[in-house]
Symmetry: C2
Subunit: 227 residues, 2 copies
Amino acid sequence: MQEFFVTVDLVVLTIREGRLEVLVVERKYPPFEGSWALPGGYVGPEEDLRDAAYRELSEETSIGAGVYLEQLGSYGAPWRDPRGRTVTIAWLALVPGMAEPTAGTDASDAAWRSVADFESGALPLAFDHGEILTDGIERARAKLEYSPLAAAFCPPEFTVGQLRAIYEAVWGTELDPRNFHRKVTRSPGFLEPTGRTSNVDGGRPAQLFTRGTLDVLNPPITRAGQL
Amino acid sequence: MQEFFVTVDLVVLTIREGRLEVLVVERKYPPFEGSWALPGGYVGPEEDLRDAAYRELSEETSIGAGVYLEQLGSYGAPWRDPRGRTVTIAWLALVPGMAEPTAGTDASDAAWRSVADFESGALPLAFDHGEILTDGIERARAKLEYSPLAAAFCPPEFTVGQLRAIYEAVWGTELDPRNFHRKVTRSPGFLEPTGRTSNVDGGRPAQLFTRGTLDVLNPPITRAGQL
DNA sequence: ACAATAGTGTCTCTAAGACATTATTTT
DNA sequence: AAAATAATGTCTTAGAGACACTATTGT
């Protein structure tokens, strides 16, 4: 009965300057020395999988509790790691835009890179991390449709305009501000008004909201068929 | 660096006599001797995860190629298996109703049991397989909404009535036959008419269809708000 | 004839998409 | 004043849900 190494790898996405970005680390030792890879590491002897993912996330960013973290899937092709038979459990984390990566404690320098660069081929990744990242991006894009998850990219209080910017960055589309406003404000439980306002973007001050308690958006926000 | 055992476990669902059923095996050795469990087993030294899942499925049922098989998730709580630190990759398989379980080649007797029994607590499962099955059932229910996956439960040619019975069995609801007919026949790519008809259920002969090429149903079939 | 199931059509209502208009701020 | 963004309202249309009605079989 074969024994395996088990790791967790993280697809950490954020929005910075209106772009969807991913956290990558530079590998300092072989294999793939000098390449970019997803952050991750070995699961501890008595550590739960989610705890391992959360620990790796804490080590690479300044992100604390309350981060959105969901399991993405497992990858275990026989030769995916030349050091030995390794199965990795990939996790998807969505973090607010102001999160800063931590300079590498464990043999890595972490940096935000744009997802557009990855998708154009300008950011090759070590191991099968390209496949994992592709799956993570698609998961995030799909989830925005039927869940209020976009708020996970936002600070605790945010405006409808900021929320719309999240959708536009993740989907790479433009959404009608008026229809979007109607949709999210009239979906009960999506947003909770705080009564406060913000005017950081110029123009009329916008109402500030916090995340509501809704967890499934029905009917969904569709990304097909709008320009 | 800890080494782990890695297994695959299968949530195999089917529809028999209008009921949603799950394939379970009786454990013949400790731990959990005599209990029911999900079918599964160890991943081979040079075996891909999907191949391992497919191999276990073939060993337990008469199902051949073309079965729908998707990864459900990984479960790796430290003490989930008393024999040692084990991570399992769970897979969801949907098989047509006539599939028969194979009497246990590897220390198990396989049987179909109704999901209703499981959900009422009448079918306790070994290890954390109850949690895995709960997740698998929910995944199947959710996927029927926005994918043409229900056809995976059907024989190669089927009627709209048979397809509707799948939805009703999986969701435990009743659907309006006329609205359902309109929905599935007017979703381009969902169904391909064969020109043939069937009248096994009495009444007017029904058109036979095969699965179409569609893979995402937009707009979805909703399970909320209909009786 | 009657029961059963298949299939079509019609009506209402919700919500998406397109877009006009007003409101409130900064420059 | 002009530009920018927020917020509300109107119109059209697609599609869900409810349900009447016709079609074609077996008993």
